[in-house]
Symmetry: C2
Subunit: 748 residues, 2 copies
């Protein structure tokens, strides 16, 4: 007996020693795969296959997709098209399939995938070694496989992963061939040969950096890795040069992956171009982050800048509506959502390398797929183990700027209503001139819209899928947004140089009291001599069916101006309490700065007191109540004038126009209320709950608005226009009545 026990013990020791050895081996940084998949991760995954539904399903889908492509055969066409065209789409499809096939080889241990990757890479090698610049000339930085270096970089970010997966499958000779003729020249083209693309702080460059860095990590090439992290050594850029979008290429000389983390992300994780481009940039940030974490753990990339990469994921998820669609701040195409691939990456990486937030699992469940790597495995296991919790989006204030000192975005949420208040900085070349603008959502539906961009991404028929000229002439202009335009001119004269040197400042943000949430910001210099202070409150009151918005826009100017204040509603005019006359023929509202794109559908004169406008959309009712003077104009407009190729949507707005004014305050309330059923043909709560909005006080120090409901109850909202700290004590007298409170605002 004892002999047998000893024998077993010895055996056990031998086995465990072998395991230890293997573990040591697979942690070795020269072992492949090491970049995203790791040798140990592959072992874990293989051991759990068949028991982790969301992972198994993701794997199955990828397998079906790749198998279908393998059956179709390899096609490496000579590059010739813009986005949306065949050669563009084909090479794009190839990069995805290469990456996926590489993963399948590792997880399924089936040589056919390695062979497929190898064959395709060899064909790329054959073509690339003599490939000239892409024939299309529109880009400021032309690629070779694609019309712009950006897409070449996309390719390399994915293909690096494929190469890593089959690295050990290739002979040294094969590797040398690929590295010499394909990967190194490829990395050089998008970096050294294209510094105007590579050597800057911009989402394009982030892709470039990640591409160079990831292939560098696979090839164990310290030069490339350094070039990725810190930019091209010794390269000085022309500080005045601009790119296609009008943005400076490199005004302050910063470059490289770390600078690209440093600059565009605020400490809260807000990305200065806005969520649409953050979503796009997310993939290279995180996938290269994960690669660095795996291969260069000593860099502690996920702790860099106080952990901003992971924070940015939380910020981005909060910049989406109830359906997960990102708010289209700046250039953003509507419909982009957290269902996009890069957000699968983001959610999985955030779960694995962050604090395993169980709310993320609910998003992963909705996404219904996971990464086929260690992080996806972690998420799949979390879900399998029943850890899923709802992801709770709350009101949040996200500062903008590298130090969080350049304005921000405030989101107020209550029940189904989401108010998005943008007081951010210019947002780089993708920024719009819309300081202190807002948009309003209800349960994922736009009530007051931000136009988004003027582009049909990858729809070839519309300008090759690229930015349309109306993006500049319309979408970026101030009048295209829900904020004030002075004298028919955009903020900062619509000039990037001025815009990027200025920004609004937070006045205060308060979401402690769920029933009265407020965000307030001020900005100078949008117009010389004019200061704006906008305070927006989301108020839940017993006399109202749903939370409503109170909007106070104070304008102080030392000159007489015309102010236009639009509300881009959706749907059909239902009712107004003011007279208006529709136009017999429709003429543009103006000649430039976006005004040339608006038709005047109707004009009216406001009434002294409360001008009310209600509308109807998707079987729901809405009312805008605005404090107006008799001389104010109310103009119904529709987008679409001077639009020779039907590039713009025919969306309506109501513009409140106040002429010949110095200081003025726009005060409005916005209500969503009631519903209509076309099946029962019954309307419920189709009218406003506000009997009267009234200014009780409007001074440099305080603005006080009373709101009397239809039921006859009156509440008072006072905002402090100067002292706004949580601790500040205020005592004022309005109409003989004393009010005292602590904090920036009062509501009762």
């Amino acid at each position: 007996m004892i002999k047998i026990q000893i024998l077993l013990l010895v055996l056990l020791i031998i086995i465990s020693c072998n395991q230890k050895k293997e573990i040591t081996n697979i942690n070795d940084n020269n072992q492949h795969p090491k970049l995203i998949l790791t040798a140990r991760g592959v072992q874990d995954i293989r051991s759990k296959l068949g028991t982790i539904p969301i992972f198994d399903n993701s794997l199955q889908k990828v397998k079906e997709e790749v198998d279908a492509e393998i059956d179709l055969g390899i096609d490496i066409p000579i590059p010739k098209d813009y986005s949306g065209g065949y050669t563009h789409s084909r090479h794009k499809q190839n990069w995805f399939i290469l990456q996926k096939a590489g993963v399948l080889y590792q997880i399924l241990d089936d040589e056919k995938y390695a062979k497929y990757v190898k064959n395709m890479l060899m064909k790329y090698e054959e073509m690339y070694k003599t490939l000239p610049l892409h024939p299309k000339t529109r880009s400021y930085a032309r690629g070779k496989l694609f019309w712009q270096c950006l897409n070449d970089s996309n390719w390399l970010v994915y293909v690096s992963q494929a190469y890593d997966c089959i690295y050990n499958y290739l002979t040294e000779e094969e590797r040398n061939k690929l590295e010499t003729n394909l990967f190194r020249p490829f990395a050089d083209h998008i970096s050294i040969d294209s510094p105007q693309f590579y050597q800057r702080v911009h989402n394009h460059s982030t892709w470039g950096n990640a591409a160079v860095g990831m292939i560098g990590l696979v090839m164990d090439d310290e030069d490339l890795i350094k070039r990725a992290l810190y930019g091209i050594e010794g390269k000085e850029m022309d500080k005045t040069a601009k790119d296609d979008d009008g943005g400076f290429i490199n005004k302050d000389g910063k470059a490289g992956f770390l600078a690209n983390i440093e600059e565009p992300f605020s400490p809260d994780g807000y990305y200065n171009e806005g969520p649409y481009y953050q979503r796009y940039a997310m993939y290279p940030f995180l996938i290269f982050g994960e690669a660095l974490h795996n291969v260069k753990p000593e860099l502690k990339i996920f702790e860099y800048k106080d952990g901003v990469l992971l924070k940015s994921i939380n910020a981005l998820l909060n910049l989406s509506d109830a359906d997960g669609d990102f708010f289209p701040l700046n250039d953003g195409q509507k419909g982009m959502s957290y269902y996009t691939g890069s957000l699968v990456t983001a959610v999985d990486i955030s779960y694995k390398y962050g604090n395993a937030d169980s709310g993320l699992l609910s998003i992963a469940k909705k996404q219904n797929r996971v990464l086929l790597d260690d992080s996806g495995l972690a998420v799949a296991l979390g879900i399998k183990e029943g850890k899923t919790q709802p992801f709770q989006k709350k009101s949040i204030n996200l500062s903008d700027g590298p130090n969080g000192k350049q304005g921000g975005v405030g989101i107020l949420r209550n029940e189904d209503i989401e108010l998005v208040f943008k007081y951010a900085s210019q947002g780089s070349s993708h920024g719009h001139y819309d300081k202190l603008s807002f948009s309003l959502y209800e349960n994922g539906e736009e009530l007051i819209q931000d136009y988004g961009l003027a582009r049909f991404v990858n729809i070839e028929q519309k300008g090759g899928g690229n930015y349309l000229k109306e993006n500049k002439t319309w979408a970026k202009q101030t009048i295209a947004h829900n904020t004030v335009t002075q004298n028919e001119t955009s903020h900062y004269q619509g000039k990037y140089e001025i815009g990027s040197q200025n920004h609004p400042d937070l006045h205060y943000f308060s979401s402690e009291d769920e029933n009265v949430q407020v965000v307030s910001s001020k900005v100078a210099n949008t117009y010389k001599g004019t200061d704006l202070l906008r305070t927006m409150a989301l108020i839940k009151d017993k006399d109202f069916e749903k939370p409503f918005v109170l909007d106070i826009m104070r304008v102080e100017s030392n000159t007489f101006n015309q102010y236009d204040f639009p509300f881009y509603f959706f749907g059909q005019v239902l009712d107004t309490n003011f007279e208006y006359k529709t136009s017999e023929i429709l003429k543009p509202l103006g000649k430039k700065n976006g005004y040339q794109h608006l038709f005047i559908e109707a004009s009216g004169k406001a009434i002294a007191g409360n001008s009310k406008f209600s509308w109807f959309n998707n079987n729901k009712f809405y009312t805008l109540t605005s404090l107006t003077n008799k001389i104010d104009d109310l103009i119904f407009t529709r987008i679409g004038a001077n639009d020779p190729e039907f590039n713009l949507r025919r969306d309506p707005a109501l513009i409140l126009r106040r002429k010949d004014s110095k200081n003025t305050t726009f005060i409005s309330a916005l209500e969503s209320h009631g519903s209509y059923s076309p099946v029962t043909e019954s309307a419920f709560n189709s009218k406003s709950s506000i009997r009267e909005l009234k200014v009780e006080l409007d001074s440099q120090e305080y603005t006080a608005i009373s709101i009397t409901s239809i039921k006859g109850n009156t509440t008072l909202f006072i905002t402090s226009n100067k002292k706004a700290s949580k601790e500040a004590k205020h005592t004022i007298t309005i109409n003989g009545k004393h009010y005292s409170w602590t904090g920036a605002y009062y509501y009762k």
Copy 2:
């Protein structure tokens, strides 16, 4: 033992005798309830409660609703408002609650419901006996509780059921009081006092007939029952008088419930006003039908006119899109669907009194409620017993006219595409002037829309919820529809008198070959001297992603005319192969007949050959290919001109205009293709699959169109313009090639 057995036998006989007696009793027509609920039905229901989920849930919801109303207390306001106003809504709510409370009393045997019904009826009695005409004067037949007799009739149809349910609960004295002061004068007001409403063939009158008949059945009043079935005895109407909508009140002297079945329903069950009004009329037809079936089974009402009442339910269900929304032919508000209450009635009654079609159970399941009566019980049991089958909508041709000889509606369905071709007769006062028009749907989404009506039913802010004047000036006009308008004048000069004396005729309908389905119809006299023949085919071909539409509209005229041929698409212009110029200022297309409501957004000249237009909507792509001449105009329009109260939607169209032509043929193909994902930002199959459409022959006898696909394959569609029988043999030679076939068309 034997003694005991005998004893048991005797007992059994006694019990069975008692049961027999009870059954006899409860079939007695003087037993209440007898109208919709029956005494025996109530017994059955009570015995099954708690075991029939959909019924139990429906009951629970009704109970919660009624209990909440009982808690609120009874309110019988003095009538003063139009639809959408408080008193209107309140009395409407009362009729529903009364009916439901009556049912609850029967099923739950709880006196509180009987008491509630009694109390409310007594209050109505108190008010009604001195109530003058409703103060609002807009109706051609004013009611007392409501502004129009129609709504008073609605009230009585429901309240008769409530009265029946508590009949036995009331004392004779109470019944006398109610019948003398409320029910009989109420029935008289809507009939004898309002013959212009009652004594006609119209959906309004059907409600009136049913109201009078149902209270007559409850009260066992043969006079009222006869008046319901056959109209007011001896009443002669002015044959030239018209109602508010411009329809004749009673041109041919017919009246009463049976005439209302006889006239508007075709033998196929198509209702001449269209599905929206059929849905509305359905309730009184079927509920009074059910009542007659229960109380006067000798009438065999469900076998009347070859069982047309039950056939009409099948027709109506087939007149809905994939979501169950009815096609908005004539005046129809979009969004009305088979989820509406009257369709719950229709589906349940059809199941119970028809042939227990298990497909109906799937609709009942979607409706998620059943009637709380014998028919609802039957459906609930059917579902419980697992009999549910999908309701398969197929291509269907529905004849119009009392004898099925006045045109019709043809619906072609293949995969997700539904083509609705309207060649129906005028459709009574709710008809539109759109002979040979069409609309196109894909999986419940409108691709080419019919505008529907210009009305916001029960939305008080829009003209009291009633028809807007734009219904006449726009929605009814020919140019508002997808058919040909000659010389900017509507069909039949837009005159009801002419329209109602003419109608198109079916040329042929063929759906035997699922891959090539065709409907063809001709009409004379829409314009004097002009004949139209339109042939529309829904073709599934291997070179196309989805079934596409081939449209051949032949116009023969003895004068030179201008023809306008619009396509009311949705969404955004993507691409054209013809040049166009957008308008700097938008002007109306014309001055009258609907043209005054169209803005010209852009104009272009067609090219000789195929003019192609593609558009983009809800992330899908569409292409129209039209055979054009160089002199044809292509005009992009948008609805909304001369619309002083924003009553019209701002929807676009492309109008093909052909000037100075006598005979001409419009030939077009419509494709739905591809998709776009804003999440992956990728476009799939965004271009047309048609390389060329070509006329190979166009004679009085035949039109032959060749369709060459992008893949280079050519098919030929030949339609016979004269002989169209299934048996007809054809032999022709086109371009030297011989074609022989049997039947109306050829496709290969």
